[in-house]
């Protein structure tokens, strides 16, 4: 089993874990008002997008195949 496969597997599992946790955080943040909360919401949403990208990369949908 190559290092690349381990890395892919690790990325796959952890991006799901982090992405789901962040989604829950975002849901909890939704009712909060104030400028800091607004910015946090936007940034959390973009970070979840990042997790999706990492997930896609780990299954080789995006990025260089190796």
């Amino acid at each position: 089993m190559s290092a690349v496969l381990i890395e892919r597997g690790l990325a796959f599992v952890s991006s799901i874990v982090v992405g789901v946790t962040a989604t829950f955080q975002l849901r909890n943040e939704l009712p909060v008002r104030g400028l800091d909360a607004v910015v946090t919401k936007v940034l959390l949403a973009l970070m979840i997008l990042g997790c999706v990208l990492a997930l896609l990369a780990s299954v080789n949908v995006l990025g260089a195949a190796k």
């Binding site: 690790l10 992405g19 962040a22 970070m47 990042g50 997790c51 990208l53 995006l62 990025g63 190796k66």
Partner: protein, 208 residues
């Protein structure tokens, strides 16, 4: 004003508002100021991203050739792990602030330390990326934009790690209270911001 019957968001909000007007006004101004600073930082990254897009779209092939050999595409497997490390640190930072707002200092410390460790781990991963990179800063437009942008981002992460460490020490010295914790809010916003910049860079350099 703080009552024991309130729980959850309501309690947090009540504590948040239970400050003297001078602090409330200062906090308001600092928050706006800090968000504006992040916004202008965003412009800084955008300018370099524009440069990268410009150079990339005007190149005949990508990745470009240097000395007769086409540069390899960047390896996504390791970068994906490293990205998730950084995103994970964003999640732990968020937990840290939530715990502070809910007056759970032990959990706050635990999450903060975890965040700092993840931040350092990300920097270590970047160092590995740099050392194993098959291109140079000077050699091509690809190298120039890659090392400049990720370098700027890495610098931001480094500053963030120092910043969070200072916040952790301050929090344990009693600088912040359950009502007055603007520094922690700013730290969290900064850390989320650094994460989000990485989302862009990750896509643009590794996945596109």
């Amino acid at each position: 004003m703080a009552t024991t019957t309130l729980t959850g968001h309501a309690a947090v909000e009540a504590r948040y508002n239970d400050v003297d007007p001078v602090y409330a006004e200062t906090r308001d101004m600092r928050l706006l100021g800090f968000v504006l600073v992040l916004f202008s930082d965003c412009i800084l990254f955008s300018s370099f991203i524009f440069a990268y897009l410009y150079l990339r779209t005007s190149a005949p092939v990508w990745p470009p050739f240097v000395d007769g050999h086409q540069l390899p595409r960047l390896d996504t497997a390791f970068a994906a792990v490293n990205s998730v490390v950084l995103f994970g640190s964003g999640v732990t930072m968020h937990f840290a602030l939530e715990n502070w707002k809910n007056l759970k200092k032990g959990a706050f410390n635990m999450w903060m330390i975890l965040t700092i460790i993840l931040g350092i781990a990300f920097l270590g991963g970047q160092a590995h990326e740099y050392l194993s990179a098959q291109m140079t800063w000077q050699g091509s437009a690809f190298g120039a934009s890659f090392f400049t942008l990720t370098g700027m981002h890495g610098f931001h992460v480094f500053v963030g790690v120092v910043y969070l460490t200072v916040l952790l020490v301050q929090a344990n010295r009693g600088v912040y209270t359950g009502s007055k914790y603007f520094g922690l809010t700013a730290g969290t916003l900064y850390w989320h911001f650094v994460d989000v910049i990485w989302v862009l860079l990750f896509y643009l350099f590794y996945l596109w």
